[in-house]
Symmetry: C2
Subunit: 339 residues, 2 copies
Amino acid sequence: MNKRPKPPTMSDVARQAGVSPMTVSRAFRHDASISEKTRKTIIEAADALGYVLDTTASGFSSRKTGFVAVTIPSINNANFADTVRGLTERLRESELQILLGYTDYNVEEEERLVEQFLRRRPEAVVVTGGTHTERCRRLLDAAGVPVVETWDLPNNPIGHVVGFSNAAAAELVVEHFRQEGKTRLAFIGGDTSRDTRGLDRCRGFVEALESRGLDSCRLVASGSPPITMREGAAAARTLLSRWPDTEAVMCVSDLSAFGAMTECLRNGIRVPDNISIAGFGAYDIAEQSFPSITTVDAFAEDIGIRTAETVLTALKAPAGSSEPLTTKIAPKLIVRETG
Amino acid sequence: MNKRPKPPTMSDVARQAGVSPMTVSRAFRHDASISEKTRKTIIEAADALGYVLDTTASGFSSRKTGFVAVTIPSINNANFADTVRGLTERLRESELQILLGYTDYNVEEEERLVEQFLRRRPEAVVVTGGTHTERCRRLLDAAGVPVVETWDLPNNPIGHVVGFSNAAAAELVVEHFRQEGKTRLAFIGGDTSRDTRGLDRCRGFVEALESRGLDSCRLVASGSPPITMREGAAAARTLLSRWPDTEAVMCVSDLSAFGAMTECLRNGIRVPDNISIAGFGAYDIAEQSFPSITTVDAFAEDIGIRTAETVLTALKAPAGSSEPLTTKIAPKLIVRETG
DNA sequence: TTGAAAGCGTTACCAA
DNA sequence: TTGGTAACGCTTTCAA
């Protein structure tokens, strides 16, 4: 760890290379008009001095930070990780860098994070879901940069949207269970109101049952979102003791579905012979578990890719002209051994 | 999306509040000497204008960006996610923000990322592992900021270290299998040389066998790191067909262990009656699967917390005085139903 | 506790 | 293709 009081600047490089600082600046940009020979001299001088471009200064000067601020509910979730991966890959060529933060499924924390990010002057902001604090909406609105809401279809979007209806996704599962002739259906999710997408799935589940004239009282909440495998297992215990004749259960995620399934197996309840189980999210575990788990693929990575494309389009558009884009993703049911 | 050509500045707020820009600056800092009354007036004026502090400018001026650059191998890995969580939580109070990137277990990509991050002038850099390209080491060395290597104990550290010996962790598992009287042991991991921590575990496994006079030829590689559940299952197939009398198998991670286990179950092989299985990383799945999986807990979140503390200590120390700190984590064996 | 002046390292803009 | 000059919005430093 070399403690150098002051890193070299463009002026230092300019002196070393015998050119003006402005020419050094050009040597470090892709588009600039500069002779290949001059550039080579400059890059060599820079390397010799250990010079690294200071984007802190260049961003300040050009009012372009190259940041895209992204908030996700949890950093430890394969679905959101896939979305971030899609975003990152698709943005790679464009000089844009992701500033990533997680909210713990908490809108207050989201507000804190968004404000912190806005101070960095990102060129665009990507948030998860359509539920935010009033102040958070105001901040985003006033930021004057493109905003994309993902993983949902908000009624009153802030700006752009790349998402799907979580309620409709739940209906896919209900319809599937119905086609298999099941009538006593249950839902396992987390308690409280923090995970709005999880709640939307529950709501969609209930509505789908009601519109089919089925009883919709079998709802079990266990643990605060995101609900874990262990909480899925606990919920399954509750479910089986309260409504032992349940024929099929949809879980808010594949992780809880896996927990519920192992709980059944531990208690000698056969899946799907005695009970069908479905999850959500197309996690690896749903495919690799034994038996494998019926699920819904929301195409998390695609959401990221399409979000990146939305950002790029919005950034390219002349300042006023950008009308909000909405990209709808169509989740897909994947039927497996459990259902 | 309000398109405002220019966001308000401190001068705008100062005019609105009837004070000097300098006083506005003080109102936005925690330590500054300013009367509570003045501050209140200013904050109100700022809110009215929709002013948000521009850290792009303040960082430039003060030469403090408030960034800690962090690179992890994969964004979709519960272990590294836990480390990031520990880091983030522990850093929350300190005005430091994490700049997170992932390398895909690739040192070339790591070099690219580190260079990109260094341009942002982070106040510290955290990397995973002790293996880097030559140029990456040079860049980090020249950056003049504290560097922390994690999840490993490098022979020739760049600066600070918070980690453990992956080889020794593997030996824990071998010793456990030995105490259960198993002699025909196998290892399942990924191929090639990208995941150096995985390789270290394999090396530790082999050395532990040899030092106990056991045969160490049962090594199966499947897929490029990080090896998935599916690849773990494929490796188990190979293993069982090539060495059907294997008594116990250690997998490079819990995910591959889970895949290997389900593959056994699918084929009617009882775990642990016919074969014992152990993983690594103390993932949720190892606890919740049925049967549950023997594993090694490397205390991923602790690694993050201790790393944050190392960063804070190094940042507090006067420029020259900081000698490298090494924090050793002691991984712990967790014996479960499979082993 | 408050204010004024002088940068911080880069890029935009215009001129050569 | 190159160079000079004037910002960019804030903090540091010193003075009141």
